[in-house]
Every structure is written in C-alpha cells, then in structure tokens.
C-alpha cells in the first residue's frame, strides 16, 4: 500500500519508461472518455471560460516531465479527447426539442458513432489489460483511423455552431422580416435560426459531402450522416406532397404555411395573396439538392390543399398507380442527374420519383376539380357572356329599362334598383341568359373612376413598378384601396395617385389644344351612371384561384370599354335618326350654303359612326372572339393547373393590349376621339336650333344672332378635331403595330380601308 501511495505521488518523469508508458496509456483511456487522468489534465492556460471549453472541446495537456517521445505520441492521440468532448456537448445540446427533427436525427446518427468510439476504447482497455505487448505505438495504430472520422465530425459540428453564432448576430435583419410576415403574435426570440436546422443542416451536410467526396472514408461518413439526418425531412416532404399537410412543429421544412392567410379573403383581396402567400418556400433554406424540385414540391402540396379546402378527402396513392405513372412520367422528367451521390444518399433516390408522381397526381386531381366539379369552362363562358356581351339581348333590354336611372350622376344612381332591373332582365325567359345556370352571380356595380382615367393610372404606374404584377395590381385596385384603407403600402399608393392625374393633365393639355378643356380625363369630373356602370361577378373558392379579383378587374375594364363604345354608337345612331326623321333636317332649305353645311354635318356623323362601328367590330370580333378561341383551344389541352392560370392571364392581358387599353398614348387619342363624338352628339340639339333660326333667317333674308359662318366654324372645329385625332390614331397604330402587336394593323385597315384619311392633308 505504501508503495502504491508512493507510486502515485511520484513524478511520472522519474519512473522507468516502461512504467511511464503504462501510466500514460491508463490515463489516455480515461481522457479519451473525457475524464481527466492523473498525468493528463485540462489545459487551463488558454484562459478560456468553462462554457467555451465545453463547446469547443476540452484541450488536454500531458505532464511535462513525461518522456519526450512518449509525450509526443500521447499528444497525437489527445485531440481525440477534445473532439469527443466537443461532439458530446453538441449532441447533448442539439438533441433538445427546439432544434428540430433534422438535428435530432443527426445527433442520433452521431451518437451511434460515439458509441462505436466507446466500444473501441473498451477494446483498447481490454487489450491493454490482457496483452503485455500492448504499447503506446499500438495504441496509436488502433486509434488512428478513428481520429480521422472524429476530426471530420468535429469540424462539422463546429461549422454548425459557427453558423448558429453568425445567424444569431444578423438575427435582427432576417428574423425581423420574418416576424413581420408571420405576425402570429409569439416572439421568435427563442427560436433557432433557419440556417442551423432542417434544410440548413442538410445544406451544410450535402455541401460538405460534395466538397470532401474525394476521400472515400469521409464520403462514406457523410453519406451515413446525410441519410440519417434527412429521414425526418423526407418524411415531412412525403406528407406534404401526398397529403398536403405540413407536420412541422419546429419550422424547419422548406415550405412555410401562413395560417393567417385565409381563403375567405380571396374574394376581396386583389393580389392573389392566397395563392401566392399562404404557402411559400423559405428562401435560402432549401437544401441545394432539392432546388431543382422546389417548385414542384410547393405546387404539389398547394394543389392538394386547395382540394382539401373544398372538403374533398385526399386518398393515399395506390402502389399500382404509382408504378404506372412512373412509367408514364419517365419521358418528361426534370433534367437532373438522378444518380448524384447526394440524392442517392437520401432515401436511395426514391423521393425524386415520389415528387414527380405526387406533382402529377395533384395536378390531375385539381384540374378535374376545376374543370369537372366546378365547371370552369362554363363559368368562363358565362363571364364572357356578361362582360364581353356576346348574345347580349338581355343587356339591351337592361339599358332600355334602366336608362332613366343611368342618366343620373353616378353618385345618385340607386344600385339596388339597377340590380333588381338586371335580375328582372336575366330572369326573363325570352332572354338567352335565362338558360345560364350562373346568372344569379352577376351583380351591378358603380365605379367611382372613369375608365380612361383608371387605365391611365395603371399604365402610368406600371413602368415605375418594381414587380409588374404586384404594383400594377395594387393600383388596379386603387379604387378599392380608397374604400378599405390599405396597410402601410398605401402611403406610396396615395402619392402615386395624386401624381398620376396631374401628369395626365399636363400631357392631355398639350395634346388637346383647342378642345374644350380636360373634360373626359379630368379628375374632378362627375361621371354619369352609364359611364360608371360596371358589372361584378360572384366567384367562390376554388374558382377564385383562376378568376381572381385581378382577373375580374380586367374583365370589368374590358366590359366598360365595350359599353362605352356601345353607348357612343347609340348616341350617334340617335343623331342619325334625328337627321332622317326630324322635319327640320329633312326639309330642303333651298339655300345652298345651308345645304352644304348640313351635308358636311351628315358626312362627319357618318365618319364618326363608321369609326365607332369599325372599332367595336375590331374589339369584339377581331380581339375578344379571336382570343377567346385561342383560350378555348388552350384549355382543351391542359395538363397543369398553373397552365390554366397562365392561359387565362395571358388571354386577359392580350385582350387588354389589343384593345389598346394598355398604351397611354393610344388610349388618350382614343379618349379624345370618342369624346369628340359625344360632344358632337350633345351639340346636335344646338345645331338643330341654329338650323331653325338660320332657315327663318334665310327665308326672311335678314341677319340675326346666328350666322352661318359661326355655325360653320363650330362644325369645322369638330371636323378638324376628329380628323386630326383619327389621323393621329392611325399613325400611332401604325407605329405601335411594330412594337406592340401586329393586330393593330387590322384596325388600321378597317379604319382607313379606302385611304381616305391617308389622303387628307393634315391641317394642324
């Protein structure tokens, strides 16, 4: 005993080397398990705090009196102890609930490795105890391969920890934004940044794997870790793409669900928020190997959710159908190297096929839902009937009935009355619309902004907008924005709104010149009922995905455009009736100059009428009908839901464009032209009065308050204006047919088929 005591207090350097080696092996075995030995202690000289030491792994030093060569050998083995402690600490912390499934799985995998490591130690111990030939050299030989693995894991662990630190530092910028979007009410303070959980971890793993795949052992290690760590992620993805559910208590999946975005808003909301915002990809957290598939993954689940929101149960895909569709889908697979190591590491690459299958299936189911159950095509046809006025006998009837109401200023019009009149008309069994099952969904609406003004606003904003869709849409909804105060974003919107009219005003001012000032597009002008009249259509979920607020507004714009054309045409036709039926006009005056004046007026009226009629013909037959045909044929060969959205948006956008509603210059000229027509129509009354006066004057041959010259001058002004603008329009159309759409040429041919305007000298 006393010997032993003496032995233990001995300085190791003073022992024989044999004993020194024995003692140091004994100590190393402990140290490798993270327990301080007798001669190997914690290096306290580096001045690190306990915490950092815990995280980074404990650094050990060997008693300095040890035999130098033994000491060197021992020091080679010592990093293992450091790695072990660091990794152990990592496993302990990252197994906590809040770090998420992927981290848990990764820790589980590492723990397995650590267990093997411990077994190695016990084996060494056994060797050491039993075999007398066990030396430090042998020790080193056994331990050496493990050192490599451990150092790899250690550096991985350190990288994860570093990432954590980094992302915590610029936490404010990222999380602040996230919080704003989430606004679920709970603080994100304690949550783990995305970089070090879920997709982030998988990214790190796959990146390191591809960086270090040169060494087969390292590669094997990472394949092992990745396949283990990705398991929960893959299973999450599985439930998402096959069931549309997200079971993600730790917010680590690449798809984020915002529960506060509800489908009920869809009717009101202008920006398709539901479709865009409810499920989003968490940027930067998608593991790189999934990036080629991310869109498909997102859409597959999203579609399934739409189906589920409609109360239809989603069934598990059958094995057989899977195999069938695998065979089918072989042809058009995303061009990804299927055999990449990373993909194979995860689930044996099966999930790639799964994504394809799920995507196809979700698409097919949702398409069936939209086309068969929800009768999308019938809906679109019905919308076309009401907004594009095909077979619109009901509408003429409606205008006749509601004329007294529509004459009033738009603010005094009773919408209820109009609505009841519209219902009356639609339910009239003699109308075509009677057979439409969706006729109950049409509603009358009064717009507060004139068509041209609204369009100009949109156009003016569009080029300055960063994202075309978003901003334009926002301003399209400006009308709505006035009613419901927007959140924050409106500040900018308001600015633009005040800005837009003033710009328009100045431009118009320069164009109009002599014409009675700023009438049609001026901001303060009160609209009449007919100018403000617009339709609305009740769309329910899930059709509102396709026929969204935005789409409906486009329909409304086109409808108002058409309606205005019809209205002007009617006014001009009324003049025609007047000219032909009224006694004053028909009676030969006998005075040649008056007859000439009258004839000029007839000619102008006719030119206007031709212009308006040709224009409406162009709009209805050459644009709307044609585009509708294209849409129909497109919809007949659908394969994905996004195609539906795309085709439909395309359809509307092309219609708008070809109807010249998207070009500010054309629109302004058009507005001036129609305005001239309306003014002319309104002036007929005065012309008639002056005609009567002139007649009596010419009969009596005495000069009176009304002179023929004056009348001729007024008429001349109209003629001038009309001619100038129509020439301008034709020129502009010619010009834009090169840059925007060739379709304009058709209109040019229509408007000037006999080169009448072309041959007219320009007067201004």
């Amino acid at each position: 005993k006393s010997f032993e005591r003496a032995f233990s207090e001995l300085i190791i350097g003073s022992l024989p080397t044999q004993l020194q080696e024995y003692a140091i092996i004994e100590d190393l075995l402990f140290v490798m398990m993270g327990i301080e030995g007798k001669y190997i202690g914690v290096n306290k000289a580096d001045g690190l705090t306990e915490e950092i030491r815990y995280i980074e792994g404990i650094d050990y030093v060997v008693d300095s009196t040890l035999d130098p060569s033994l000491k060197d050998l021992a020091e080679r083995i010592l990093p293992l102890a450091t790695y072990y402690t660091a990794i152990g600490a990592f496993v302990e912390t990252y197994s906590e609930m809040k770090y998420g499934f992927v981290n848990h799985a990764l820790c589980g995998a590492i723990r397995e490795l650590l267990k093997e490591y411990l077994i190695l130690i016990t084996q060494l111990e056994h060797q050491f105890r039993t075999s007398s030939s066990f030396t430090l050299q042998k020790f080193w030989f056994y331990v050496h391969p493990t050192l490599h693995t451990m150092s790899n894991i250690h550096s991985l662990v350190m990288e994860i920890r570093d990432n954590y630190q980094e992302s915590m530092e610029d936490d404010d910028s990222i999380n602040g934004y996230d919080e704003l979007l989430n606004s679920d009410g709970f603080s994100k303070k304690n949550s783990i940044p995305q970089q070090v959980k879920g997709g982030g971890i998988l990214s790190i793993l796959s990146y390191r794997m591809s960086q270090m795949s040169g060494d087969p052992d390292t590669k094997k290690l990472y394949v092992y870790l990745l396949s283990k760590a990705s398991k929960p992620y893959i299973s999450m993805m599985h439930t998402w793409i096959h069931h549309g559910e997200i079971r993600d208590p730790y917010d680590e999946f690449m798809i984020q669900e915002r529960k506060n975005v509800k489908k009920e808003h869809l009717k009101e909301d202008f920006n398709d928020t539901y479709w865009e915002m409810r499920y989003t990809i968490r940027e930067n957290t998608v593991p790189p190997f999934l990036i080629p598939f991310q869109k498909k993954i997102l859409l597959a689940g999203k579609y399934l959710n739409v189906i589920r929101e409609c109360g239809i149960a989603i069934e598990e895909p059958r094995k057989k159908t899977i195999d069938e569709s695998v065979a089918e889908s072989k042809a058009d697979r995303t061009d990804v190297n299927m055999n990449s190591d990373v993909l194979l590491a995860m689930d044996g690459g099966r999930f790639v096929e799964n994504i394809e299958i799920a995507y196809k299936r979700a698409n097919r189911t949702l398409l069936d839902l939209l086309l068969k159950d929800q009768q999308l095509l019938a809906r679109l046809r019905s919308i076309k009937r009401y907004f594009f006025l095909d077979q619109s006998d009901f509408f003429t009837h409606f205008l006749d009935l509601a004329w007294s109401e529509l004459k009033k200023p738009s603010t005094q019009v009773s919408i209820t009355k109009l609505q009841s009149l519209l219902d009356l008309v639609l339910r009239n069994p003699s109308s075509v619309a009677y057979a439409d099952p969706f006729k109950e969904d049409v509603k009358v609406e009064m717009s507060s902004v004139g068509l041209v003004e609204q369009l100009l606003r949109i156009i003016n904003v569009e080029p300055t907008a960063m994202t075309r869709g978003g901003r334009a849409a926002e301003d399209l909804g400006g009308r709505r924005g006035e009613e419901s105060d927007g959140e924050g974003l409106d500040e900018g919107g308001g600015e633009r709104q005040t800005y837009a009219p003033s710009v328009i005003g100045s431009i118009i001012g320069s164009i109009t010149g002599t014409l009675v000032g700023g009438h049609s597009t001026g901001g303060g002008k009160q609209l009449t009922g007919i100018e403000a009249l617009s339709l609305d259509y009740v769309v329910t979920f899930p059709l509102s995905l396709v026929i969204s607020r935005k789409a409906l507004t486009k329909y409304q714009l086109l409808f108002r455009h058409l309606l205005y054309l019809k209205y002007v045409e009617q006014l001009l036709c009324n003049i025609w009736t007047e000219h032909f039926k009224s006694f004053h006009w028909r009676e030969e005056s006998g005075h040649p100059s008056i007859t000439a004046w009258k004839n000029r007026m007839y000619a102008l009226r006719q030119r206007m009428l031709v212009f308006i009629q040709q224009f409406s013909y162009y709009v209805t037959n050459e644009v709307l009908e044609r585009q509708w045909r294209i849409l129909q044929s497109n919809l007949a060969k659908l394969s994905t839901v996004d195609q539906v959205l795309e085709y439909h948006t395309d359809f509307l956008d092309t219609c708008l464009k070809e109807c010249m509603l998207t070009n500010a210059k054309l629109l302004r000229i058009f507005a001036k032209l129609t305005h001239t027509c309306v003014l002319f129509a309104n002036y007929t009354e005065k012309f008639r009065k002056s005609l009567m006066v002139l007649k009596s004057q010419s009969d009596g041959n005495n000069s009176g308050p009304v002179s023929l010259e004056q009348q001729e001058k007024t008429l001349h002004k109209f003629e001038d204006n009309f001619l100038y603008h129509i020439k301008l329009l034709i020129e502009a159309l010619n010009f834009y047919s090169a840059t925007e759409t060739v379709q304009f040429l058709c209109l040019v041919v229509r408007l000037d088929y006999n080169l009448y305007y072309y041959n007219q000298p320009s007067k201004r």
Binding site: K1, E4, R5, S8, D27, L29, F30, M33, I35, E36, G37, K38, S95, M97, G100, F101, V102, N103, H104, A105, L106, C107, G108, R111, K115, L118, I119, I121, T122, E125, H126, R129, T130, K228, K231, P232, H243, P249, A313, E316, S414, T416, K417, Q419, S420
Partner: protein, 648 residues
C-alpha cells in the same frame, strides 16, 4: 475541493467497485458507493482509496442509479393508487415492463462480474469480461431509456387520461429514431385504455370511463328529452393532441348519435347489430387509418340517424307542415280560417273559447286541401291561446300550434317552436290587414253609387280610395316579400342543404336553425344589429287598421245621412212639398258636425301612415343587407315616396 480530502490511492480492485456499481444501478447502496442525500447522487466513499479518474467514471455510471430511483419511486407510488386512472395504470405497467428489461440487463452484468471474481475460475479475463468502461458502453442504451423515462415521469405527475397521452405524445416529436421509437412504444401501451374507451364509444355508444379520462363526458342527471343537446359534453383538456378538433367532434357526434338512435329513436337492434359487426381494433400509431375508420363510422352512423328521422319520424313532412300551416303556405286553408275567425277574433280575448276555435280549425281543414294531408300531421295541428291580459282582443292571443314529441323535438325545440309561433303571429296579422283592406275595397266598390249621392264628400271618398290603394300596395308587396323572398328562398336553401344528407344531426339542427333565423331576421322580426324595423311595420299595420275603422265610420255616417234624407223626403212628399233631388241637398249643420271629425281623422291617419312608411323606407334604403334594400325599391318602385319625402 473534495478532491483534496479524497483518497486517491489504488486500494479497491475494480471488480469490487463493479459489484457495487451493479447495486447502485438498482438504487441500492453498495459497500463503497453510497447515496448522498445532500447532493442527491451516488458518491464513492471519500475515505476509500480510489483513483480520481475512476471516481469520475463511477459518478457517470451512478447517474443511472438516480434515474432508476426516480422511476422506481414513481411506479411504487402509483401502482397502488387507483385514482391515477386507467391510462395512468397503463403507463405504470409500461414503465414496469421497461424496468423488467432493465433488471434483466443487471442480472447479466452481475453474472459476468461474479464469473470474474470467482476465484475458482481462471482469473484470466476473457474478451467479455467487464471493466467500468465496458460497463459504461453496455449500459449506454438502457441509460438513454432510463433518462427518457425519468423525463416522462417528471412531467406527467398529476396528469391523467387524455392529457397524459397528449403529454407523452409531445415527446414523440423527436427526430432521433431511437428516442422516437422508444416513446412511441410506451405511448402505444399507455394509450391502450384510451383506445378501448374510444372503441366502445364509437361502436356501442357506451362510456366506460370510471376516472373521467376520456374527452367525452356524460351528465347522468340530464333527462332523455335533452339527450342530444345536453347529456354529453366534451372535455377539451382530455383530448389527445394527435386527434384534431375536427376528428374529436366527429367522434363525439358518433357516440351521441348512437345513443340517440338507441334511446330516443328506440332502434336498439341496429346499434347492437352494428356493435357486433366487424370492427377494426384501434390502436395508437396510424393516425390516418384511425381517421379513415372514424370517418366511415361517422358517415354510417349519421346516415342511419338521418334515415330514421326522415323515414320513421317523417321529419321532412313535419317541416313542410310547419311551413304550410304556421308560415301560411296553404292558402285556401288560411283564407278559410281567416274568413271564419276574422269577426270572432275582434272580440275581447276572454270571450274566446278553445273548443270553438278548434272546431273552426277542424272545419278549415275539412274545407281546404289540407284534408288530404297525413292524419298524423293534422292531429298535431292545434289552436293556442296565449296568456290573456286585460284589454286583449282575440287577435292578440290567437295562434296556431303544432305539437312535436320525442325525438323530433330535438330539432323542433321549444325555443324554435316559439319562433314559429312568433312568425305565425306576424304573418297572421299581415293577413288580417289584407283581409280588412280587401273588405274595405269591396265596400268601396259596392257602395260607389250610394256614395255618389252625397257630392260634398266625394273628394274625401276619392282620397280615401287612393290611400287605400297605397295601403294595399304596401301590404301586398310586404306579403310578396315575406312569402317569396324570405320564406321561399330560405326554404329553398333548407331543401338543398337537407338533400345533401351529409353531416350529422347537429348540422341538421344547425341548418334548420339557420333557416328559422333567416326568416326571422329578414322577415323583420329580429335584425342582427340594433336597428329593429318590427315596431315601425307594426305601427304601419296599426294605422291601416285604424284607417279601416274610420272608413267604416264614414260609411255608417253616409248610410245614416242617406236614411235621414230619405226620411225627410218621405215626410216632405207626405206634406206635399216637392221632392228635392238628393244630390242637391247639402249637409245640414248636424251632419257636418258629425262628418268633420271623421274627415279630420281620415287625413290624420293617412298622413301618419305615409310618414311612418317614408321613415321605414329611408331606413331600409340604407340597410347593409341587399334584401332590405330590394324591398325598399319594391315598395317605392316609382319613387313616389321618395318625392313625397323630398316635398315634406
């Protein structure tokens, strides 16, 4: 530091320490290693010479002992305590089983140690011989399990039933497959009693829950009458978190429906037959399969229940009957009733006798197409007289009644029947006004010639005709609105909703309630916001009735006046005076005095009527509900009142 006082000599052989450690693992103090109460952990006696590293190794190992003590203590405490509930008991037994596994491991370790320390055997250690380090490796897995158990034990104190299941379920949310599987395994055991309860609830409708652990509770004091509404309730805190709220609601509904079928619809056979039939055994694990099986049961049960209600208990017929009789859908019947009762109801209420009224009702049924209706339904039709207070006339207290009994009174609850009665009374009142107005119109038409004999009142008569037609317009439009726009549309919604036949009795009740509420809110009786138009409408109706009475007075006056003139003419002719033309005769002073108040009242009531109507219209015009706005357009289709309001 303790280390200074520690004896770090190599005194004790590892084998002895190993023996101690095995004891410590089972929570028993060893020879050298003892439980230290102050630190709550096992320590090697500091006086005994053990190397420092070994001490630390032992302290790592002895963590097991502490964990074991904790789990063991919990099991020991709970095993005899019945009050922890069935789920709690299952939890204990699961822990026990895990501990058995643990004991097995201990036994193996022990045997290895004894083999080693046995001097008879060769001291040469085999590759399987133990050291402290090897021990650490071999208990690695068990330690992990013990740790998890300790965590579970720590948190679940005082929880029971569904809450306990939820708590354990929470711990399965771990990505480490080892932990996940272990907890899941325990959960499977723990949730067994829960699933048994669930099974008996959804297959037989029985609650076998002595410790209130299930998320459905039962109130035994509630009568069978209220079985559907009040007998069962949900305990949300006992609802396991893996069962979603929707699923829980379905489960709740299934059992309730089964009980309803059994006790209220007296269809025990079906329930028992179903209970005996194929049933899948439910257990924890596949939530999707659970959902499927519950969905299937749910649809089956709900369908059965609705079938019974619609076929055996003729629910649809009852709904139609209520619409026909209480909401005045059967026109000829209502007309007959009105004709027969009209005069009688003007009398003071206390002179009315039930038997007379029921007699009239019977006659009305016989006289109208109602006679072809189902006997069972006709028998339920009855007259009800509300509590009579002083001054009431028959109109105030009379209403029709419809008797409902179990089980359909689950849908037609007393409050809903009161709603029906209210609706009836309002519609009946309107019908009465219509009746009175048409009587007035008839009198106007028939007595046109007579009236023409007094030219002085021609203007007033003409005026009264205009006012009357205004009133008729109002009443007709209002009736049209109520019958078609309100009752008709709501009925249509009701019919389509019912024809879907999806959902359970609850949704049926909800559909019916919505139907009634739609009618009441849109039919003016009760609007959702503070605005209430009923008083206004009633006022207008009151003015019309007043007007009718004054008109009657006017006619009586005219008749009297004519009689007087006739009389004076006869007298004159007797005296030989020339007979005056009645037309030219002016009202004498006495007659004028009698006429003036009538004229004044006529004007007053007419302007009251108009004023109130304009008020109503302006309010309706700005109501946010489009139906009300439509009504205002309908009542004022040519903006007559609009202009009138402007003028005033």
């Amino acid at each position: 530091k303790v280390a200074e006082t520690e004896n770090t000599m190599y005194e004790i052989s590892e084998a002895l320490l190993l023996r101690d450690v095995v004891f410590v693992f089972q929570g028993i103090d060893g020879q050298y290693i003892k439980f230290d109460k102050t630190t709550g952990s096992y320590l090697v006696d500091s006086k005994i010479g053990v190397q420092r590293s070994t001490r630390e190794l032992i302290s790592r190992l002895s963590e097991m002992g502490c964990l074991y003590r904790k789990v063991h203590a919990f099991v020991n405490d709970s095993i005899d305590d019945i009050s922890i509930g069935l789920v709690g008991q299952a939890f204990c037994s699961a822990l026990q089983r895990e501990l058995t596994e643990y004991y097995k491991l201990m036994a193996i370790l022990e045997s290895q140690i004894t083999k080693e320390t046995d001097p008879n055997l060769s001291t040469q250690s085999t590759p399987h011989s133990l050291s402290l380090k090897r021990m650490l490796v071999s208990i690695n897995e068990s330690a992990e399990k013990l740790r998890l158990m300790a965590v579970l034990v720590n948190g679940c104190a005082r929880q029971k039933g569904g809450a306990l299941v939820s708590y354990i379920y929470m711990h399965t949310n771990h990505g480490d497959p080892f932990r996940h599987e272990f907890v899941e395994h325990i959960l499977e055991e723990v949730s067994k009693p829960f699933y048994e309860m669930l099974q008996s609830w959804i297959y037989e409708g029985e609650l076998e829950d002595p410790f209130e652990e299930f998320f459905v509770g039962c109130d035994p004091t509630v009568e069978e009458e209220d079985l559907w509404q009040h007998k069962y309730f949900m305990r949300t805190d006992m609802q396991p978190s893996f069962i979603s709220a929707l699923l829980a609601k379905k489960i709740f509904s299934i059992g309730k429906s089964l009980n309803f079928i059994r006790y209220s619809c007296h269809d025990n056979d079906w329930v028992t037959a179903k209970g005996k039939g194929t049933k899948s055994v439910l257990k924890y694990g596949d939530v999707i399969a659970l959902e499927h099986s519950i969905d299937a049961t749910y649809t089956k049960t709900s369908k059965r229940l609705l079938d019974i209600l619609f076929t055996k208990y003729k629910l649809m017929e009852h709904l139609t009957a209520l619409k026909r009789y209480l909401l005045l859908g059967q026109g000829d019947f209502v007309q007959y009733l009105m004709d027969q009762l009209g005069s009688g109801l003007s009398k003071p209420a206390n002179t009315l006798h039930r038997h007379n009224l029921t007699g009239t009702l019977e006659a009305a049924i016989r006289a109208s197409n109602a006679q072809y209706d189902d006997q069972d339904i006709l028998q339920r039709l009855d007259v009800r007289l509300a509590n009579i207070s002083a001054g009431d006339v028959g109109w105030d207290v009379f209403s029709l009644d419809y008797h409902v009994d179990s089980p359909i009174n689950t849908i037609f609850t007393p409050p809903t029947m009161i709603q029906y009665t209210e609706l009836f009374r309002f519609l009946w009142r309107l019908k009465r006004v219509e009746h009175d107005l048409s009587a007035a119109w008839r009198r106007q038409m028939t007595s046109a010639r007579t009236l023409a004999q007094i030219p002085e009142i021609e203007k007033d008569i003409n005026n009264s005709r205009l006012v009357c037609s205004e009133m008729i317009h109002f009443v007709y439009q209002l009736q049209y609105y109520l019958i078609f726009e309100v009752v008709g549309c709501s009925w249509d919604v009701l019919e389509t909703d019912i024809s879907k036949k999806s959902g359970d009795l609850d949704s049926l009740i909800e559909i019916h309630n919505r139907y009634l509420n739609d009618i009441t809110t849109k039919g003016f009786l009760r609007t959702s916001d503070s605005q209430d138009y009923l008083p206004s409408v009633l006022k207008i109706i009151g003015f019309i009735l007043q007007y009718k009475n004054i008109l009657d007075e006017l006619y009586n006056f005219v008749v009297k006046e004519l009689m007087r003139r006739e009389h004076s003419n006869i007298q004159a002719s007797r005296k030989g005076k020339p007979v005056e033309d009645r037309r030219n005769k002016s009202l004498d002073k006495e007659a004028r005095e009698a006429f003036l108040p009538i004229q004044r009242k006529l004007g007053e009531v007419a302007s009251n009527f108009k004023g109130e109507l304009v008020n109503l219209l302006t309010e309706l015009e700005h109501h946010k509900d489009t139906d009300f706005r439509f009504l205002s357009v309908r009542l004022d289709f040519n903006e007559f009142y609009h202009n009138y309001a402007k003028k005033v």
